[in-house]
Amino acid sequence: MTRLHTLGFLALATLLLAVPLTSGNEYELRLFMLFLIYAIIAVGLNVLVGLAGLVSLGQAGLFALGSYTGAIVATRLGFDMIGSALVAAVVAGLFGVLLAYPTVRVRGVYLAVVTIAFGLIVENVAIEWQSLTGGTTGLTSIPAPNVFGAVLSGYAYYGVLAASLFLLVLAAHNLKFSRYGRAMLAIAQSETAARALGLNPTAMRTLAFVVAAVTSGIAGTYYAFLNAYISPDIFTFTDSVRFLLMVILGGAASTFGPVIGAYILTYLPEYLQEFAVWQKFAYGALLLAVMFVLPRGIMGSLGALAARLRPAAKAATPTAGLPAEITLAPDERRPHAELVARALTVRFGGLTALAEASLRVKPGEIHALIGPNGAGKSTFVNTISGFYRPTSGAFELDGVQLTGLSSHEIARAGLARTFQNTELFGEMTVLENVMVGYQQRLAYGLAAALLHTPAMRREENRCRETAAGLLAFVGLADYRHEQARFLPFGLQRRLEIARALAAGPRLLLLDEPAAGLTTQEIDELEAMIRRIAGLGISVLLIEHHVELIMAVADTVTVLDYGQVIASDTPAVVQADPRVVEAYFGSSASHANLAEASA
């Protein structure tokens, strides 16, 4: 935790302790307790919106679900507050899983509409199911907050809410600075790259939805006990918008932003009252102004300002990196990986992009895959990394069948790749990008992440040091705190290689790594590929640059019209008449290719 965050938590604790001591009357304290409940919702929603990058405009539905569930089990079954809150959390959490399911297939606006629909469904079920929910009149006579039969005083209940919020902010902060938070951020920025590094987007999105749902559910129960009365009109679409606005106004993805946003929007109606009938108009105008003036929210703008004022401070935290030779040392038992693809065929509609292509990357070799444009190289790469499903054929790594696995499962089997059009996590730092690559080698679980246990910290340190070492390996040590999107193109390519290496792959797949590089950068790339192979990692290199291939490859496979037309050492392939024909047409002689490669 940085010093600023520690200060922030101290300030929050002080505020939570000072308010009940200084509040003049019960109304003031009650309003503050309402703020605490909204803040709980906002902090949970921030995990979904800020980290996972998903918009929910139906949070009021989950809030209502928690509220009704808590109220019903309390009034009907006589549960105490803790029991009710637990039941509400479970029910809301289950609906969170249900809501996350559509994200497998739809996102963005589509997801927003699904969440809006969910909110409206809950609202109308509350109206319709009168025997359970009391219909439009709602549920009354919810008991006073009580724990194990003992009724809590107003101050004791305040203590419960304040402690809940404080612990939640801390847990959400810990989650953000753990493998889970990094994974969510990475998936939001490039799902493709995240999958290729072994991250499971569906699991992470579900986790984010569940966090947002469970917190809203608990907040709902707290609300029911605070108010002693709930009805459907408290949980409308407008409230969902307000919850989302709390996160955006405070600053999405920041630790304290949602709390600040919730504070402002809880107290705002008090100030807007002087606008009388224009109150709603003023609220809309404020929402509009926030989007234009503070699109990154209060904390986001403050953070950007701070970064501009002291840019030097960021660079002044050197971490000793672990040398790549140690962190990437091959497993003694199976030192080198072998990739075998047998008769892979991929068809898109009537077009056959790959026709019975077979290829074998021998253990520890540098294998180049070449071919004219449209030969099927990219299709091959995307197939063996799990982005396309082969129509027929099979492929395996060290005898482990990979056919039919999804891309993150293939990545976990030990195959890492880079991308032709670089796919970096643009808004994360260079170091964080590489740390995401290390993700699947981290073993700690969710509980350890929320608590930041010593074991978890040790693993994180190891991850950080490995990442730093890999940055040194590719020559990016000085850039580790830059945002990845600000790197020049050539360095972005190197960062992708470092990130792929961080996964500890047994086979590295480089998709046109030389494209767009200068001559000097290509020379450096050549040396880097040799050093990677020197670490015992098998390399499959897809490239156009003949000179580079002839210099580094042990074996060259040539694709043309989706078929393998040659596969042998560079010298033999260079002399193969079919290869020459594929590249230059039938009348060309060997001399032409030799010239081109010189």
Partner: protein, 291 residues
């Protein structure tokens, strides 16, 4: 029998409104990959302004015409003010919230002006009811689905036969390529939003005589029109119009046999289910992303 006919025809009428609103969402989405979340308020502007002007003594045709034009202008302004500044961003939170904000403001002004009351819009279409297969209906209600289909055909004609229509399709397929061909992409998008809002405001003018015009008349048709657009496949104009009509009919049956609240539960649940089975909507095309 007459109840069934009643539900079908009334359903087609409200479905025609959803179809027109959804058609607007289709037009906006095709051009900008963004929509106006306050599109329901466009409908309200059309209906309420027409009722207000007629109440002030304007002739019906003139009042309706002006109301539709003002609705179109609203769409043009909202694109320029609230959508374009956020169009380039990776997530859609920006324009979602700005258009919602403008919707809140417009709705608030309308509430203040009408003091929360509903205004009637007398129209010859609701002067007397007619009997069709035992169902009592206003001629207006019979006309609405026909108008929705005509609007769909008109859009097709516009896209096939006119320069601006072809430019709209080019922008929908590939914005950058369209720009390189000399198409003013921003102008096409602004035009699309204006066109979408014209249909939205027209829907408001059409439904106002049946339900009366009020500040909140656009909320549900706006949300449902969006749900219909997503369900039908927002990239397909015939898809959203047909889905809109079907949605209206299903809704009327649930409302008739169960209740109003059940209507919303069934309708929106249906949307979620459809989206799970057909992520691109019933008639939509898949948008493929290359790795």
């Amino acid at each position: 029998m007459s109840t069934v006919a009643q539900y079908i025809f009334s359903g087609l009428a409200i479905g025609g409104i959803y179809a027109l609103v959804a058609l607007g969402f289709h037009i906006m989405w095709s051009a900008a990959r963004a929509v106006n979340f306050a599109h329901g308020d466009t409908l309200m502007i059309g209906g309420l302004l027409a009722a207000y002007l007629v109440g002030a003594g304007w002739p019906l045709a003139l009042a309706c015409g002006l109301a539709v034009l003002v609705g179109g202008a609203f769409g043009f302004v909202i694109e320029r003010l609230a959508v374009r500044p956020f169009a380039g961003q990776a997530n859609s939170i920006g324009w979602m919230l700005t258009t919602i904000a403008i919707g809140i403001m417009v709705e608030s002004v309308a509430t203040i002006e009408t003091q929360g009351y509903a205004l009637p819009l007398p129209s010859p279409g609701v002067a007397g009811s007619v009997q069709v297969l035992g169902a009592g209906l206003y001629p207006q209600e019979l006309a609405i689905p026909v108008i929705a289909l005509v609007a769909m055909a008109g859009l097709r004609l516009l896209q096939r036969r006119t320069l601006i229509g072809r430019a709209m399709q080019a922008v929908a397929h590939n914005r950058n390529a369209a720009a390189l061909m000399g198409i003013d992409v921003n102008l096409v998008i602004a035009f699309s939003f204006a066109l979408a809002s014209l249909t939205g405001a027209a829907a408001g003018v059409l439904i106002a005589p049946v339900v009366q015009a009020s500040a909140t008349m656009g909320v549900l048709p706006g949300l449902k029109g969006f749900a219909v657009a997503i369900m039908g496949g927002i990239t397909s104009a015939p898809g959203v119009v047909l889905t809109g009509l079907a949605y209206g009919v299903i809704e009327k049956f649930v409302e008739g046999y169960v209740s109003t609240a059940a209507r919303e539960i069934v309708g929106f649940s249906l949307m979620i289910v459809v989206l799970l089975v057909f992520p691109q909507g019933l008639f939509g095309k898949r948008e493929v992303a290359k790795v």
